[in-house]
């Protein structure tokens, strides 16, 4: 007899430690490389160097939310509990990078625009995304039943993902109607290599974070099941 609809109780395959080291060392290398090789920008001076942390952090944020969206859809479709755990892990890591992106955005905004915050479409929709992440994670913490938590957070995750581009679009419209200055950023090719390398490094690091977080969640599930099986003398009789 089949015990569980999926093998979410099996212990996970642990993330290889070598991958973690690789991600970490690659990250350090790309950061140093980008900072050292980029010349001071004619317009922005050394502020340009913030691009190597800010842009990758933002990219990872949206990628993580993409993972939440896909995992949520997969969970509703296949009812595979592992997808729910993956969505939760990605949301946790994503919210961290989202917060980081916001802080870096403010650190960038202060010297360039003279204000800590501007109601620009990108910044505002990142903030809304952060709030959606917070709502998603608190929903998870307020619901105990795993199945209910999975279904509900999947629905919230999917609707949240639909909402983000809509927020971006509406804030952009709102801004153009109010005629506030926009801030186009051009990127000369000499900065591009450093940026691409950092994008790759951040993505790798975030993927590794999500993997380890997911691994922990899977172990917790397996441990729950194993202790239950021990207490009641096995599932199959």
């Amino acid at each position: 007899m089949s015990i569980a609809p999926n093998n979410s109780f099996d212990p996970p395959r642990p993330a290889p430690a070598a991958l973690g080291w690789l991600a970490f060392l690659f990250f350090i290398f790309t950061q140093v490389y980008a900072v050292v090789t980029s010349p001071a920008d004619a317009m922005m001076g050394h502020l340009q160097k913030m691009m190597y942390v800010h842009v990758p952090a933002a990219e990872v944020t949206f990628a993580a939310f993409g993972v939440v969206l896909l995992a949520s859809l997969h969970f509703l479709w296949k009812e595979d509990e592992r997808a729910d755990l993956l969505a939760a892990s990605a949301a946790e890591v994503g919210s961290l990078f989202c917060g980081l992106t916001l802080v870096l955005g403010m650190l960038w905004g202060r010297p360039t625009w003279g204000v800590w915050w501007s109601w620009d479409a990108r910044l505002t929709s990142t903030l809304v995304l952060f709030l959606i992440f917070v709502g998603y994670l608190s929903l998870r913490s307020f619901v105990e039943d795993p199945h209910r938590r999975g279904q509900w957070s999947a629905a919230v995750g999917i609707l949240g993902a639909i909402n983000v581009p809509i927020v971006f679009m509406s804030v952009k419209w709102w801004r153009t109607l109010h005629q506030l200055p926009s801030n186009p950023r051009s990127l000369s090719p000499e900065y591009l290599r450093g940026l691409l390398l950092n994008l790759a490094a951040f993505t790798l690091l975030a993927a590794w974070f999500i993997w380890r977080r997911y691994e922990a969640a899977r172990y917790e599930r397996s441990a729950e099941h194993a202790s239950q099986a021990a207490a009641l003398g096995g599932y199959d009789g």
Partner: protein, 52 residues
């Protein structure tokens, strides 16, 4: 963008890198710690199963 750019805004650049590194470092420690702890607990639970 006047005075900040003239003195290079180095303080902001340093701050952004420091924050990024601290945050990512903390996350690294947290994530690795959580995975290790969960694995240890799991192995404990499995051992308990065999004992009974």
């Amino acid at each position: 963008m006047d005075n900040a750019v003239t003195n290079g805004g180095i303080g902001y650049v340093v701050a952004s890198y420091v924050i990024t590194w601290v945050v990512l470092g903390a996350m690294l420690a947290r994530v690795v710690g959580a995975a290790r702890r969960a694995r240890a607990e799991y192995e404990q639970a499995v051992k308990g199963e065999f004992r009974t």
